[in-house]
């Protein structure tokens, strides 16, 4: 429909539209005719089309309202129930007793430890891979394969990632259930996100900057490392932050790789319990719901802050770019 409209919209084809209509095809002219007809039929001048228009726009408003409403309800619910729980004691002390009263400090550390480690593992690989795709690779079969693999990796269900991490890192490589095993699993999750963000960032670097560098006799690596990547860094960091936010909320990957017991991780092969797993256990055990609300609140706040700072960075640097 749109195509025929688009093609017929140039003047010489408009003349043929009457013929096209007689052939039963819907064209732009036909739409117009219909409109005029409807307009003529309506007495008030505000025709059926306008009525539909209003209804439909109302529906659009409604749908968007529902979307925003859902977000607002979840946020408000968690905030209202969670904020009362948050005290310095809740954040900075250990859970006490069998019902995990007290704080959630070790779970916060375990979460930050494992995601930080995952980011440290995934970032160099993903950034260099993106450099290869954007700067070095010849657009051909290999690039297509790599890109397809990255897309696939991004769509692997997180529980399958967890299964793999358990089967490979824990049971085959004999890494104990630990920060390291969880981080390796999480880094697979973050890899495609960072890769994509970096590649887009590098591609957005204007070509003439590179020419300048080459023109001064710089080699490819010099150009990439001293000109292209620094220019692309704000956007790369934005991607990193978003990947981090994703990993912090992840549960299925760490459920069978990090261990479940509460522990303060010191070295990477220490086990622990992440905030997301803690929230899950508190929610299904249901004995200490305040702790669950508090944990959910903290998780949301961390993710909110990360998302907002990612937006802030990209905005700030785009302003500088524009100036």
């Amino acid at each position: 429909m749109s195509k025929s409209l688009h093609q017929n919209s140039n003047s010489d084809q408009l003349a043929n539209s009457a013929q096209a209509t007689s052939e039963g095809r819907t064209t732009g002219m036909q739409v117009l005719r219909q409109l005029q007809e409807e307009h003529r039929q309506s007495e008030s001048g505000l025709g059926k089309a306008h009525f539909y228009n209003r209804v439909a726009l109302g529906v659009l408003w409604g749908a968007t309202g529902i979307t925003i409403g859902l977000l607002a309800i979840i946020l408000i619910y968690v905030i209202v129930n969670g904020i009362g729980v948050i005290t310095p004691e809740f954040i900075f002390t250990w859970p006490r007793g069998v019902n995990a009263e007290g704080g959630i400090w070790p779970t916060i550390i375990a979460t930050l430890y494992s995601t930080g480690l995952a980011m440290a593992i995934a970032t160099p690989i993903a950034v260099l891979a993106a450099v290869y795709l954007a700067e070095y690779a010849k657009q051909g079969k290999i690039v297509k394969t790599i890109r397809f693999a990255a897309d696939s990796l991004a769509s692997v269900p997180s529980i399958v990632m967890g299964l793999f991490a358990l089967a490979f890192f824990v049971e085959t490589l004999h890494i104990p259930l630990s920060m390291l095993a969880a981080a390796l699993g999480l880094s697979l999750l973050m890899l495609p996100i960072i890769m994509r963000a970096t590649e887009e960032a590098i591609r957005a670097v204007p070509r003439y900057i590179r020419w300048g560098s080459y023109g001064m006799g710089a080699t490819k690596w010099q150009t990439v490392s001293r000109v292209v990547i620094p220019t692309a860094t704000p956007r790369i960091i934005t991607g990193l932050i978003l990947a981090l936010a994703r990993a912090i909320g992840e549960t299925a990957v760490v459920f069978y790789t990090m261990g479940i017991a509460i522990n303060m991780p010191i070295v990477p092969i220490d086990s622990g319990r992440s905030m997301s797993v803690h929230l899950y256990l508190m929610a299904v055990e249901g004995i200490n719901l305040p702790a669950a609300y508090g944990t959910a609140f903290l998780l949301l706040v961390i993710i909110l802050v990360l998302n907002l700072s990612a937006r802030w960075i990209s905005k700030r640097y785009s302003r500088i770019d524009g100036a």
């Binding site: 250990w94 006490r96 007793g97 069998v98 019902n99 995990a100 930080g116 480690l117 980011m119 440290a120 593992i121 970032t123 160099p124 950034v127 259930l177 390291l180 990547i229 620094p230 220019t231 860094t233 704000p234 790369i236 960091i237 990193l240 261990g259 479940i260 017991a261 509460i262 522990n263 070295v267 990477p268 092969i269 086990s271 256990l281 929610a283 299904v284 055990e285 249901g286 004995i287 200490n288 305040p290 640097y317 500088i320 770019d321 100036a323």
Partner: protein
């Protein structure tokens, strides 16, 4: 333009720092030092909280020891202590089965647990026989009116197959028959309790200790079975029909640090503290004597 370049340079340095961090992290992964004496406890998630709390308190008294507790299920715990030897103590919330009995593991009871059958407080039924409970959970009885209650379809709340509570319930009640498939399977005790407390048609089962926990203001009603109430006395005496012992498993008679830790778990501090808090019953004087005499297992 120079300002922008400067910004970019700083950002680039940040990135390099990240990369360096990665290297440092991966290196430290290989080094990792540990305490002189580490006790590894692994197994049942039911016993996890007790083992954990006991470990914290134990470490406070004996800072030279490090107790690592992890919960992956009873089967994993048995494998870890009996076959692979990766754990010093396995925790079990069920009896040893088949092949596992040939592993020569020593079972040390650390707590007792009775399982209460719970219904909504408005349910007129107060007592059922074990056979009636079985009929409900196999799906043979589908309406409360068949048991003398209101005309409501029964909603069965079951536990997941990984649950020790479920296997204890199955072995004392189900008599080899399978559970009704159209039942809600929930992964936690608290959830079962919460759902039963707000669903008039529901029936479920939880550890006796969770029928009236602290901090929770919802109400469920525990039924008496064959006319016997699920109180401490009836559970330990074995008169109440659905009860189980929770065990620590060791490969051979425990010695040294492992023995000290188990001794601590059996001390009143843990038995009246964490064990009671977790909703379980303390071990009897007979059990303690058996442990302290060092043999008899």
């Amino acid at each position: 333009m120079p300002g922008r370049l400067k910004n970019a340079t700083i950002a680039c340095q940040l990135l390099v720092t990240l990369v360096l961090l990665a290297v440092v992290f991966s290196l430290s992964a290989c080094v990792g030092g540990h305490f002189e004496s580490t006790i590894v406890v692994s197994g049942s998630t039911t016993l996890l909280p007790i083992a954990e709390v006991a470990a914290q308190e134990f470490e406070a008294i004996h800072p030279e020891y490090n107790v690592l507790v992890s919960g992956m299920g009873t089967s994993a715990g048995i494998e870890a202590v009996g076959i692979t030897g990766t754990a010093d103590i396995g925790t079990a919330s069920r009896e040893l089965r088949g092949d596992e009995q040939a592993l020569n593991l020593i079972e040390i009871p650390v707590a007792y647990d009775g399982i209460a059958v719970i219904v909504h407080p408005t349910n007129p039924i107060n007592d059922l026989t074990v056979a009636q409970v079985r009929d409900i959970f196999t799906g043979a009885v589908k309406n409360w009116s068949e048991l003398g209650g209101d005309d409501l379809p029964i909603v069965i709340i079951n536990r997941d197959e990984a649950s020790g509570t479920r296997s204890a319930f199955a072995s004392s009640v189900m008599d080899g028959q399978t559970f009704e498939i159209n039942s809600v399977v929930l992964p936690g005790t608290g959830q079962v309790r919460e759902v039963v407390s707000r669903t008039p048609e529901a029936i479920g089962y939880i550890s006796v200790g969770f029928v009236e926990p602290r901090h929770v203001d919802t109400i469920v009603k525990a039924l008496s079975l064959n006319g016997i109430y699920a109180d401490d006395e009836n559970i330990i005496s074995g008169e109440y029909p659905i009860a189980r012992a929770l065990h620590f498993l060791t490969n051979g008679v425990p010695t040294g640090a492992v023995r000290q830790y188990i001794q601590f778990v059996l001390s009143p501090q843990v038995q009246q503290g964490a064990v009671r808090d977790a909703g379980f019953l303390p071990v009897t004087a007979d059990d303690l004597e058996r442990f302290h005499s060092g043999g008899g297992y």
